[in-house]
Symmetry: C2
Subunit: 149 residues, 2 copies
C-alpha cells in the first residue's frame, strides 16, 4: 500500500503538539510514509514605516529561529525521525506550509484543529488557512478537551 | 492497529465523488475501520412567509430524498458496503454531517476539498464548514485538476 507516501506535519509547539504528532506518526506507519516536520516563525517586529531594522530585532529573530530548530529537532528525535526532516521557515504560517508542501511534493499535510465556533471561526485558524490552496490532502487533527492556540 | 475505527464519508455527488470515496476506502483499509456514508439534501423551497407548504413542494423534496438514497446505496454497493451504512439527511450540510458524526461516534470525517482561493475562500466550502465544530478529525481530500462544486 502506498496511498500517502510523504506526510508534512505542521508543528506549532502548543500543548497539543505531542498529540497531533502522534496522529501523524500513526498515519505514517499505516501508509509506510515518510514524515517531515515544519515550524513557521511568524515573528516580525520590524518597523516598516522607516525602513530601519534594528540590529537587536534581527538578533532576536535569529535566536527565535535557532530555538525553534532545536525544539523541532528534539521532537524529531522523540518521534524517531532524522533531523534532516526538520524545516523551520519564517513568514506567513499558511504560505510557508503550502510552499514547503509543494517543494517537498508531500501528499498529506497534518495540522492541529481546535474546532472553534462563532466569532473565533471568522478569525480563522491554521487548519482553516492551510485547507485553502493546499496542493494535497489535509488532515485536521482534533484534540479533544484542549485548545490548540 | 485501531487508530481510526469509524469513518464518515460526506458524499455530495459531484464529479469528484468517486475519487474522494476511493481515498476514504483506502483509509478504512489502512486502519481496518468501519465506513459510513452521508449525503445531505439541502433543498428547502418552502415559502416561509405565509406558513403555507404546497403539497407539490413536499412531494418534490421527498422525491429528492428518495433519489439521493438510491444513489447513495448504489455507491455503497460499488464500495462493497452494506446499505445500512447509508444515511440521507435533510437540512444544513454542515450541521447534519456534524450531527451524524456525533451520533455515530465517528473518529474521522472525510470530505472533498476544492482548494479555492480569494473571494471563493471567503464564501466557504463544505470542507471548511465541517472543520469548524467537528467532534473528530477531518480529512479534506484534494482532487487535483477538478472542481468539487
Amino acid at each position: 500500500m502506498a496511498f500517502y507516501s510523504h506526510i508534512l506535519l505542521a508543528v506549532d509547539f502548543t500543548r497539543v503538539t505531542d498529540s497531533v504528532a502522534r496522529q501523524a506518526v500513526e498515519m505514517c506507519q499505516a501508509f509506510k510514509a515518510r514524515l517531515s516536520l515544519v515550524h513557521v516563525v511568524e515573528f516580525t517586529q520590524m518597523d516598516l514605516s522607516n525602513d530601519l531594522i534594528l540590529p537587536q530585532e534581527l538578533e532576536f529573530e535569529q535566536e527565535l529561529i535557532k530555538q525553534s530548530r532545536l525544539r523541532l529537532e528534539e521532537l524529531a528525535v522523540k518521534l524517531g525521525l532524522k533531523k534532516s526532516e526538520c524545516f523551520v521557515s519564517q513568514g506567513s504560517t499558511r504560505r510557508e506550509i503550502l510552499r514547503l508542501a509543494k517543494e517537498l511534493n508531500t501528499d498529506l499535510i497534518v495540522v492541529g484543529s481546535h474546532g472553534r465556533e462563532g466569532i473565533q471561526r471568522l478569525l480563522g485558524s491554521t487548519a482553516n488557512a492551510v485547507l485553502h490552496g493546499a496542493p494535497c490532502d489535509v488532515l485536521a487533527v482534533r484534540v479533544k478537551g484542549e485548545s490548540v492556540e
